[in-house]
């Protein structure tokens, strides 16, 4: 600053100062797009998903913020002590007057080599067919024993046991404790998987570890572990780290669960559901039995009716009915015949009246009787015999005269 002849330096409000500095920073090409190398400290992750930390070296520190969209692109979350390189630009946080590096990208020094190794192994094993979907084995429906490969002291074991106790307490857990991080871990994990594969009744093996940094989880990216999972005679479920962590073990496992808890849930049926299905099957048994009985009862009714038709009483009843029917038929027939007779008689009566002797007498003929006998021939009488003569309106007595 040049000393002024007029010592009246400008007076700015804090806000004005901040705006001025921001404008200065915004026009500086160096601080607008730069890589900063340092060690992570005071790392925190806000509920909003933004990351706050400092980068420091032996002499100084700079505050850093990584907004959520950029943070989501991270391969893993940084932890204090990580040596990193951060790409970003320097801004000013007016509220506190702090300078901060707004980080767009974060690279882990020393980890880059691990990731290259990871990708190379993944490509090689993938090409060899270790991840092929068609070789994934089916999960047991009702596992008898569940093998668990994890640390005896870790939270993962507690999560697994708690989940299995709730879901499938019928099972037996066979725990094969091992270190899950560090130099010894890969060999111990391999030994545990092999040992459990040879235990009778172990139907499924859970390989699990709680969350941690990429270095912590590295044992699950070792080729020997991948090959042990591949060679396991029973189905393997992996549950390593948190949702966002993926290891080579996850690719080889028959099922990949996001967490140890999820792995336990995957390995087991839900006994509350099984209980419900048992109740359901009992209801179905009752219903089916009921309809079998109803069916049989219906058939019994039909048989009963058929049988009733064969009793002697029924036969008598039927004969009686047949007789009744015939009587009815006969009656109807005889009535008809009587009527015919009646008619015939009536017509004969007409003929008979034509033969009535009275009508003949009326025509002038006379009926001669001797001692009550009709006289039809001359020889029947002698002269002097008394005779009776009947004409149409009465009779008179007479005497035969000699001829």
């Amino acid at each position: 600053m040049q000393p002024s002849l007029f010592p009246a330096s400008p007076t700015l409000t804090v806000g004005e100062l901040m705006r001025h500095l921001k404008a200065l920073l915004a026009t500086d090409e160096v601080v607008q797009n730069l890589w900063v190398r340092g060690e992570v400290s005071n790392f925190t992750r806000a509920a909003s998903g933004h990351l706050y930390f400092s980068l420091k070296d032996g002499e100084s520190a700079v505050r850093c913020v990584m907004w959520r969209p950029a943070a989501q692109g991270l391969l893993r979350r940084p932890v204090d002590g990580d040596a990193v390189r951060a790409l970003g630009s320097i801004g000013l946080y007016e509220v506190r007057g702090d300078l901060q590096l707004v980080v767009e990208e974060l690279q882990f020094d020393g980890v880059g080599a691990l990731w290259r190794q990871f990708e190379a192994l993944r490509a090689r094993l993938g090409a060899e067919g270790l991840f092929a979907p068609e070789r994934k084995r089916p999960l047991p429906l009702f596992p008898r024993s569940i093998g668990v490969v994890t640390s005896e002291t870790g939270a993962a074991l507690q999560d697994i046991l708690r989940t299995l106790r709730l879901r499938w307490s019928l099972a037996q857990v066979v725990l094969c404790p091992c270190q899950v991080q560090g130099a010894e871990a890969p060999a111990q994990i391999v030994a545990a998987i092999r040992a459990l594969g040879g235990v009778p009744d172990v139907d499924v093996i859970i390989v699990a570890r709680g969350g941690g940094s990429i270095e912590d989880l590295w044992a699950f990216n070792e080729e020997v572990v991948a090959r042990a999972i591949y060679a396991s005679p029973v189905c393997v479920i992996s549950g390593v780290g948190h949702e966002t962590d993926t290891t080579i073990a996850d690719f080889v496992a028959d099922y990949r669960a996001a967490t140890p808890t999820a792995a336990a849930a995957h390995a087991s049926p839900d006994q509350r559901e099984i209980m419900r299905s048992l109740h359901d099957m009992q209801s179905r048994l009752w219903l089916a039995m009921d309809s079998r009985i109803t069916e049989r009862a219906g058939q019994a009714q039909i048989l009963k009716r058929a049988l009733a038709r064969l009793t002697p009483q029924a036969q008598i009843d039927r004969s009686r009915q047949r007789i009744d029917d015939q009587v009815r038929v006969l009656t109807r027939a005889s009535q008809h015949r009587l009527q015919v007779l009646h008619e015939r008689v009536a017509s004969r009566r007409g003929h008979l009246s034509a033969l009535n002797p009275q009508a003949i007498l009326a025509r002038g003929y006379a009926l001669v009787r001797k001692n009550g006998q009709s006289v039809t021939r001359v020889k029947q009488v002698a002269p002097g015999d008394p005779i009776s003569v009947t004409v149409s309106d009465g009779s008179f007595e007479a005497r035969v005269e000699p001829v």
């Binding site: 047991p140 429906l141 009702f142 008898r144 005896e152 074991l157 507690q158 046991l161 708690r162 299995l164 106790r165 709730l166 499938w168 307490s169 019928l170 099972a171 037996q172 857990v173 066979v174 725990l175 094969c176 404790p177 091992c178 111990q188 030994a191 545990a192 092999r194 040992a195 459990l196 040879g198 235990v199 009778p200 009744d201 139907d203 006994q271 099984i274 209980m275 048992l278 099957m281 009992q282 179905r284 048994l285 219903l287 089916a288 039995m289 309809s291 079998r292 009985i293 069916e295 049989r296």
Partner: protein
């Protein structure tokens, strides 16, 4: 896989399922239906009992020596009581 003498839960469960289906399919004499029904109810009751009485057992296996010892003590059982 080696099989124990007593039928496993899975075997009994499958048998129950088949029994129910057979009974539902019909075409049985009444005697067969009754014996299927009784068998099914027996299986269901036995499976239910197994589930009700089940308690997770935890066994510890030492990979080095392959000598298994059974833990009667449960790991963190208190957590689940709540």
């Amino acid at each position: 896989m080696p099989k124990s003498k007593a039928p496993s839960f899975e075997e009994s469960y499958k048998e129950l399922d088949e029994t129910v289906q057979k009974l539902e399919a019909g075409e049985l004499t009444l005697e067969d239906a009754i014996s299927l029904f009784e068998h099914g109810m027996q299986l269901a009751a036995q499976l239910e009992k197994q589930l009700e009485q089940a308690e997770l057992r935890v066994r510890r296996l030492k990979p080095a020596a392959l000598d298994a010892e059974t833990f009667e003590q449960d790991f963190g059982a208190q957590d689940d009581e709540a």
